[in-house]
Amino acid sequence: MSERLKVRKTYKLYIGGKFPRSESGRTDLVDGDNVARASRKDARDAVVAARKAQPGWAGATAYNRGQILYRAAEMLEARRAEFKHLGVSGEEVSASTDRLVWYAGWADKLAQVTGNANPVAGPFFNLSAPEPTGVVGVIAPPSLLGLVSVVAPAIVTGNTVVVISTGPQVAITLAETWATSDLPGGVVNILTGDPAEVAPWLASHDDVNALDLTAVADAALAADLEREAAGTLKRVLRPAGAEADFTTDPGLRPMTALLETKTVWHPKGF
């Protein structure tokens, strides 16, 4: 009996909870796979999906968001063999899974750490609490741990993201874990392709609130994107330097940089 012919996977984009091809019809050959090369219009569609999903995701309870991120960790753990096949070490899958678990736990705690009551000099209730900034454009590092480390802190607080990835097989396989984690469609959108081509469209897009450039190695590209982002005063996370290290404790900054502080006043009186 002859050996069974393998059923290969097609790596497409991840937009609005679905896996469409690039509207441009373009693919790149990466490690033997034809992977989608996203276009300006794919970026536009992804922003529409992210915006549509954002109020519902931000409006979900923090407990619910935490549960979903934890579920994503379970799904990632279960795909260990597939990631290994893509060349991701078992250690990296473990670290990525653990990071998701870490962020899942932050969902219903961050407001307690970053918000506070303010003792104003008058008879007022006054409370500052964090809120998601909205839709975040992310230029992601190619590694699994890097990708998890930029997406999880953005979404755990209620933002939705449009990610540009240069590691297509890993990114789309990770997307499959999110698609099976009860994460509402559109919360995470992944475009694979060339950041230099697609990122400027996100940087100048009026409906994107923030831009995460942590993983951008090209300083000139990062500066250009930051200048573009100034047009609508997007919040910008600047590049982490030549080699972003995702193995260390990320601290709160990846989450707090994508939050707004809202302060509510109300008089006290009988």
Partner: protein, 474 residues
């Protein structure tokens, strides 16, 4: 004069001595700049003083002085830095009558406001941040937070000394040194503050004041040896600064424009809401980035509310800023008056209906009567653009969902107001408003402990409170 009218009650101008000219305050000394300009009293257009204009070399000197002062200042124990700030707060309290009169003269704001709002908040801000200087490791920004270095700070003309306090107090408490540029139409209180620093024996170079216009601000913001830029002003200039700072690694906070919705539901306490609306838009002549400049009133009570509002507006006293009875003072400059005039003319042209109470305006100086526009749609320029004057645009809504949608239908997101007697409605609406400060059954309240700053194109970063420390720490 009827028995209901108020007799004039002018505050004494003699409590402040304004010199005929002022220099730049660099490295603890006043000295000349590359040119001079005049600052006037907007209430009578008379020159108050001639002020030095800082050129790029002057800004270089100021930044160099701040850089030289940085190691020693940041190396001081926090408790010692705190004591300098407490000293400054105390001196401001002692000199607050003088500074209030000065602020009203240079800015045009009513003495009632500079005396009862600006100056008390200035002193309170220094007191508040003084106490943080030796407690930074407990602020929640890591176990060993460090200062950034030299902060370049550019402030507007609407609350000159208060905006200075918002910038300088947290910067110094965290161990940074500063170069601050006040607005060109209101430079005097910053120069008096320089004198306060000397009285407090603050080390030379820790605070430097460079006066001038847009070019001076640009030299400062673009200076390569500045580590941190903090700006309060228009969204357009904020964009230019964000562009200029891109790629430099400088830290940046921006507090920009607003077009706040003040939402009145049908169950609101009408008289309180009317007071809140008046305070929201006519406080400080409406020269307030967080002014409640769009009134969203539920349709069923619109007529009743507008009647009350008009009655209340008819009692506003517009005139001499130094009169203790004055409610609405002078517009800060001819340029700002022209902008308000242009936008209100656009309101007329686009079909909104203008109303102002009968009100006699002084013959000299820059004045604009309190004004409301009804019949305003969301597409009108007066509903979209920041007027920064005593002009209220009135829109109506039927359901909470419509109110929220209209309130958020702006690129700005600085502040918002909600008037309702129903707690659950207030909290649900507050959750959905995309604004950094939400005042419920109150408006235009400020406190040094309470963070202030915007969502969206109203800028980023927070000033005030524990949150305000983050902008000056790494």
């Amino acid at each position: 004069m009827s028995f209901l009218d108020y007799a004039p009650a002018p505050e004494s101008r003699s409590v402040v001595t304004i010199e005929s000219s002022y220099g730049l305050f660099i490295d603890g000394e006043f000295g000349p700049g590359k040119a001079t300009f005049k600052t006037i009293n907007p209430a009578d257009e008379q020159t108050l003083a001639e002020v030095a204009l800082a050129g790029s070399e002057d800004v270089d000197r100021a930044v160099a002085a701040a850089r030289r002062a940085f190691p020693a200042w940041s190396g001081l124990p926090g408790a010692e830095r705190a004591k300098y700030l407490f000293r400054i707060a105390r001196i401001i309290q002692e000199r607050s009558r003088e500074l209030a009169v000065l602020e009203s003269l240079d800015n045009g704001k009513p003495i009632k406001e500079s005396r009862d709002v600006d100056l008390p908040l200035v002193a309170a801000h220094f007191f508040y941040y003084a106490g943080w200087a030796d407690k930074l490791e407990y602020a929640g920004f890591g176990p060993a937070p460090r200062p950034l270095g030299v902060a370049g700070q550019v402030i507007p003309w609407n609350f000159p000394l208060l905006m200075l306090a918002w910038k300088i107090a947290p910067a110094l408490a965290t161990g940074n040194t500063v170069v601050l540029k006040p607005a060109e139409t209101t430079p005097l209180s910053a120069l008096f503050f320089a004198d306060v620093c000397r009285q407090a024996e603050l080390p030379a170079g820790v605070v430097n004041i460079v006066t001038g216009a847009g070019d001076t601000g640009r030299y400062l913001v673009e200076h390569p040896d500045v580590n941190k830029v903090a700006f309060t002003g228009s969204t357009d200039v904020g964009r230019q600064i964000a562009r200029a700072v891109a790629g430099t690694g400088k830290r940046l906070t921006l507090e920009l424009g607003g077009k706040a919705a003040n939402i009145v539901f049908d169950d609101a306490a009408i008289d309180q809401a009317v007071e809140g609306i008046v305070n929201g838009i006519f406080f400080n002549q409406g020269h307030v980035c967080c002014a409640g400049s769009r009134l969203l009133v539920q349709e069923s009570i619109a007529e009743e509310l507008l009647d009350s509002l008009k009655r209340r507006m008819a009692t506003l006293r517009v005139g001499d800023p130094l009169d203790k009875n004055t409610d609405v003072g002078a517009i800060n400059s001819a340029a700002q008056l022209a902008r308000i005039t242009e936008l209100t003319e656009a309101g007329d042209a686009e079909g909104a209906e203008r109303w102002s109470p009968p009100c006699e305006l002084p013959g000299q100086g820059f004045w604009f009567a309190p004004t409301i526009f009804t019949g305003v749609t969301q597409a009108h320029r007066i509903a979209r653009e920041e007027i920064f004057g005593p002009v209220l645009s009135v829109l109506t809504f039927r359901t909470p969902a419509e109110a929220i949608e209209k309130a958020n239908n702006t690129p700005y997101g600085l502040s918002a107001g909600i008037w309702s007697e129903k707690g659950s409605r207030i909290l649900a609406v507050a959750d959905k408003l995309r604004a950094g400060v939400v005042w419920a059954n109150t408006f235009n309240k400020f406190d040094p402990t309470s963070p202030f700053g915007g969502f969206k194109e109203s800028g980023y970063g927070r000033e005030g409170g524990r949150h305000g420390l983050e902008a000056y720490l790494v």
